[in-house]
């Protein structure tokens, strides 16, 4: 399991509906005037009454620790967390919210920052863009949405972002389109890429930035790793060395499948804790369920005893 975080019973101090079916929710603490600190890119866990836990990026100003602000898009096809929040949460309600954690940090060493946000994936980018702006650092936030009218939090961004640091791309305005493959083809020296958005957007961006220098590409994907509702799904492993494909059924670990296929991997705890069976992955969308890999390692390493993937994952084996 990941490092523990303090869970606080907080109060919904403000809640309003914005564009794109997004509720902007402000939490305050009944007794603490100063909340645990956070940085741009941080998220909190929101514990729902059903026992479900959902992660949401903090959108507020890290220098204002009187409140935490999140944006929750209603996803009717989702797993029920956002729908519950939209249907039931009201000002004055008590909600258990964890202290923040950051898996999506801005990197000080970067000379320039490219932020790519798809839809509601803009929430962590807002605090990142604000931080970069206040530090006077070079950045551009590219914001992709279906249309201007449903782009979450667009009004705030347009009001705050300096000219030239916000680029908008709407599906229904073809003249705003960005050819991501072309855009990411040549990495400028010292540039770091950050991206967050729906699964298709994540996969697309990942594939077009695969050639970027190691350690310069960062993403936030709120995955199922600590989700108590998580149900394993079957996926396939492709071995990079031979091209061989192996099916991992729902009830069998990737490690077991690899072992049965004669791939020698060390293993010990088989519980996602020791890291013995760690290997690399080259493409695909992993569902990290281990307690070993740090946020950087999660972009290219994989712990097959507990972790899984969506569709196909290419392992560096």
């Amino acid at each position: 399991m990941a490092a523990p975080r303090l869970i606080m019973k907080m109060t919904v101090a403000d809640l309003h509906r914005g564009a794109g079916d997004v509720n902007v929710i402000e939490f305050r603490h009944p007794r603490r005037s100063q909340l645990p600190t956070f940085e741009a890119g941080s998220h909190v866990d929101v514990h729902l009454p059903s026992g479900k836990v959902r992660q949401y990026s903090l959108m507020g100003d890290p220098s204002d620790l009187s409140k935490y602000v999140i944006g929750v898009k209603r996803e009717d096809a989702g797993r029920g967390g956002s729908a519950w929040i939209h249907a039931n949460l009201n000002v004055g309600d008590e909600v258990a919210v964890s202290a923040p954690r950051n898996h999506f940090r801005l990197h000080d060493a970067a000379k320039s920052h490219i932020l790519l946000a798809g839809g509601i994936g803009v929430t962590p980018m807002i605090s990142m863009a604000r931080a970069l702006k206040s530090e006077g650092r070079a950045f551009v936030l590219h914001f992709f949405a279906r249309s201007r009218s449903v782009a979450p939090l667009l009004v705030d961004l347009e009001a705050e972002m300096p000219v030239g640091s916000l680029a908008l791309h709407f599906d229904d305005e073809p003249n705003t389109a960005l050819d991501l493959a072309e855009f990411l083809k040549d990495q400028q020296v010292g540039a770091h890429l950050y991206y967050c958005g729906p699964p298709g957007f994540m996969a697309w961006t990942r594939s077009h930035s695969a050639h970027w220098e190691t350690g310069t590409v960062h993403f936030e994907a709120f995955q199922a790793d600590m989700d108590p509702d998580y149900l394993p799904e079957a996926f396939t492993i492709r071995l990079n060395s031979s091209g061989r494909e192996l099916l991992v059924p729902t009830d069998v670990s990737a490690l077991t499948v690899l072992r049965d296929a004669g791939i020698p991997l060390l293993s010990s705890c088989e519980n996602g804790v020791c890291g013995s069976c760690e290997c690399g992955f080259l493409a695909g969308e992993p569902i990290h369920r281990d307690a070993v890999l740090g946020p950087e390692a999660k972009s290219n390493r994989f712990i097959p005893c507990v972790s899984r993937a969506k569709g196909q994952i290419v392992l560096d084996l």
């Binding site: 490092a3 523990p4 975080r5 303090l6 869970i7 606080m8 019973k9 645990p36 258990a96 964890s98 202290a99």
Partner: protein, 166 residues
């Protein structure tokens, strides 16, 4: 057995509904003999803890320890920190009670009778939970006492704490 020559006071009562939840201060608490504090994570079986020791029905810590941490006493380089009664995650904060000397001893908190079971051992968990570096080593040997509840009842801040004969 020497007569124990001290008396103290209960300053604060804190419980947490589940592991990792913030402790919540109480104006009184119901201690159930052989079980724990009503509403607390260890009473409810939702706490985070090692399998041993078995006894942690109620945990105590000295306010004096918190004060020493605050002023950095004893002087260990780099160890000086602020740990509030709401954050140390023990249930009862006491003053004037020599907790480290009460392993195996009985004592009274108001009308309740406790028996010292084992010195509490700090955990890395709390250091990570609170984000206070070196908290773990700061609390070594002064992390309080785990007790069993021999006679239950209601306790309140201000209750006198006095030794009992075995």
């Amino acid at each position: 057995m020497n007569a124990q020559n001290w008396f103290g006071e209960l300053l604060h009562i804190h419980i947490a509904p589940a592991a990792s939840y913030e402790m919540e201060e109480q104006s009184q608490a119901n201690l159930i003999a052989g079980k724990g504090i009503e509403g607390d994570r260890y009473f409810l079986g939702t706490g985070t803890y090692s399998a041993r020791p078995a006894v942690r029905e109620v945990t105590l810590i000295e306010a004096e320890v918190l004060e020493h941490l605050e002023i950095g006493e004893p002087q260990v380089p780099g160890i000086k920190l602020s740990l509030s009664p709401a954050d140390h995650r023990r249930n009862l904060t006491t003053r004037g009670v020599p907790l480290n000397h009460l392993v195996g001893k009985r004592f009274r908190v108001g009308d309740v009778v406790l028996r010292g079971a084992r010195l509490n051992f700090p955990c890395k968990y709390i250091e990570e939970l609170l984000g206070i570096p070196r908290l773990f080593e700061s609390l070594l040997n002064r992390s309080g006492l785990n007790c069993s509840i021999e006679v239950g009842g209601i306790v309140r801040p201000g209750d006198r704490i006095v030794p009992l004969e075995d």
